[in-house]
């Protein structure tokens, strides 16, 4: 392969990874924007998302790469799997907030953040026990289609990811910009006390943020499974940390920043894996994080935190 086709190939790979990180990063950013809380449970909501998707696809009788669907059945199965995974993860996020974080809402200091680390470990261990620490083959119902583009290969999986991720992100953007509850979310992020005095119920807004963020993480988890054809109780930490880096890179609390940050991290991972060495990908990603934090502490596009009153 020539350099330019390698570059193109890694751009294709990076965009796919990046779409997944962007979905995950949005969850960090939505919740940070409203509660100024870094939700580490998010890592493993993503991981659980991949398992929910796996179980739904198995429920449709799929296993491994043996059964391939086309046409309407394929679309139906994928839509159903995304819907159940996102709904389930959204509810899981809401439950985590309701049970473990709401009682700490007015406690200052790191208590809430530490709690999310605890919840993350609980989720991790539950799945570890259920799956007996096995790596699972992820059902892939997609036909093994691929196309040659300028010396690089694009698979149907990748086209699916490039279709689904932007639709979800546009949906989120439209919700936050246009819907009544979305506007209440933005208002709360900008000035919680003033929003409250307009009649906004903060609990409802926080629940919405957890639902949306966790649902997107679920979608990310399913995309992980479809892309790598496996899942495991371990996947939350690496992907989660990279997505968190993406959120910080884009400016945590900043929704478009999280999307761009996710894509950047995906590209960096793909390029450094190709042109340097896979083992170096994380070193490079986190070095970039450190550099950004040193020279632009509020991220590339500006950190957005709730205004203190």
């Amino acid at each position: 392969m020539t350099f330019s086709s390698l570059l193109l190939q890694q751009t294709i790979n990076g965009l796919s990874l990046g779409a997944m990180y962007a979905l995950l990063a949005l969850g960090f950013t939505l919740i940070y924007g409203i509660l100024e809380l870094i939700n580490f449970a998010h890592f493993n909501v993503f991981m659980i998302g991949s398992f929910v998707a796996l179980w739904v696809l198995q429920g449709f009788g799929l296993s491994g790469q043996a059964i391939v669907l086309t046409g309407l059945p394929l679309v139906g199965v994928l839509v159903a799997a995304f819907a159940v995974t996102m709904g389930g993860c959204g509810l899981l996020g809401v439950a985590i907030e309701r049970v473990t974080l709401r009682p700490l809402r007015n406690v200052t200091g790191p208590a809430a953040m530490i709690t999310t680390i605890g919840v993350s470990y609980i989720l991790f261990n539950i799945v570890l026990l259920i799956t007996s620490a096995q790596t699972m083959n992820f059902p892939n119902p997609l036909p093994p289609l691929q196309w040659n583009v300028g010396g690089a290969v694009v698979t149907l999986q990748e086209l699916l990811i490039w279709g689904v991720a932007p639709i979800l992100m546009l949906g989120l953007w439209a919700f936050v910009q246009k819907s009544r509850l979305g506007k209440a979310m933005r208002a709360t992020a900008q000035d919680p006390e003033a929003a409250r005095m307009m009649g906004v119920e903060v609990d409802k807004v926080v629940m919405t943020a957890f639902f949306l963020g966790s649902a997107l993480a679920g979608a990310g988890g399913m995309i992980f499974g479809l892309y790598y054809n496996f899942t495991s109780f371990l996947i939350g930490f690496t992907a989660g940390l990279r997505a968190f880096t993406a959120a910080v890179l884009g400016g945590i609390g900043n929704v478009p920043g999280a999307m761009v940050g996710g894509i950047l991290i995906g590209l960096i991972e793909a390029y450094s894996g190709q042109f340097i060495a896979t083992e170096w990908a994380d070193v490079i990603i986190f070095s970039i994080l450190v550099l950004v934090l040193v020279f632009r502490p509020s991220g590339l596009f500006g950190r957005v935190a709730p205004t203190k009153s």
């Binding site: 009544r180 506007k183 209440a184 933005r186 208002a187 900008q190 000035d191 006390e193 003033a194 929003a195 409250r196 005095m197 307009m198 009649g199 906004v200 119920e201 205004t307 009153s309």
Partner: protein
């Protein structure tokens, strides 16, 4: 009575801010709350809105106790704030800020009517409706803050220092509009440092000092009161009639 405070005590932790405070505001009045810095004026407003809860005492709105109700419920019943330092949502447009004022109300003819009313009171707000609120001038922000509160179609408007940081001409405009709003039927409870102007448009006033009401009465009487003249009207020229 539209709003009453009965022996209200409000604390921040150990800090005792409002001490056995009583207010009584009739429907249709403009009542001004005067007092120096840190005496508890904004805390009064926050106690009305339910952002701060009193430890003792009762707040009565329209005949019913409200001190235990959540803020949203109070807004629903007809109390809306114009907050100290405007507190617009800085990264939302002017129109979105107005929409937030009507957050608990349905869209429809009433919303459109109120929007028209705000636009006719503040033509400038209409002109700027698509501008990001954080980029407005201070005076424009004050108009939006007032418009936003009116979008709740309140019975009681609680204004915290509406003249703060405005040029004298603008202060006069704002006070004119407050009077207009009042004449259209909205009761107004207004914190002000600009005692001179406030006492010109208010029917009555309360004077708060370190969390206690030390003086209250008709605005006209208070303007003649020697203590008020010395402490709050200072070097301002107030005609004694």
């Amino acid at each position: 009575m539209l709003l009453e405070f009965k022996d209200i005590d409000t604390y921040y932790g150990d800090l005792h801010v409002l001490k056995k405070v009583n207010y009584a505001i009739e429907e249709g009045e403009i009542v001004s709350l005067l007092g120096g810095n840190a005496c508890g004026k904004s805390t009064t407003m926050k106690t009305i809105m339910g952002v701060v809860r009193p430890v003792r005492g009762t707040v009565i709105f329209d005949g019913k106790p409200i001190e235990k109700l959540p803020t949203a419920e109070r807004v629903k019943r007809g109390i809306a704030p114009v907050l100290e330092a405007r507190r617009l949502f800085p990264r939302m447009t002017v129109f979105e800020n107005l929409e937030m004022g009507a957050y608990l109300r349905a869209r429809g003819p009433e919303f459109d009517e109120d929007l028209e009313r705000v636009y006719s009171l503040f033509p400038r707000v209409k002109e700027r409706r698509n501008q990001i609120a954080g980029t407005l001038s201070g005076g424009e922000q004050q108009m939006v803050a007032m418009g936003r509160a009116l979008m709740a179609r309140p019975r009681l408007l609680c204004m915290d220092e509406p003249s703060m940081g405005l040029s004298p001409i603008f202060v006069e405009q704002v006070f004119d509009i407050i009077q207009q709003i009042n004449k259209q039927g909205t009761t107004i409870f207004m914190v002000e440092q600009n005692a001179n102007m406030a006492l010109q448009i208010a029917h009555r006033a309360y004077v708060l000092q370190t969390g206690q009401v030390v003086l209250s009465g008709n605005a006209a009487d208070l303007r003649r009161d020697p203590m008020i003249r010395e402490a709050y009207l200072g070097e301002m020229q107030v005609p004694v009639t």
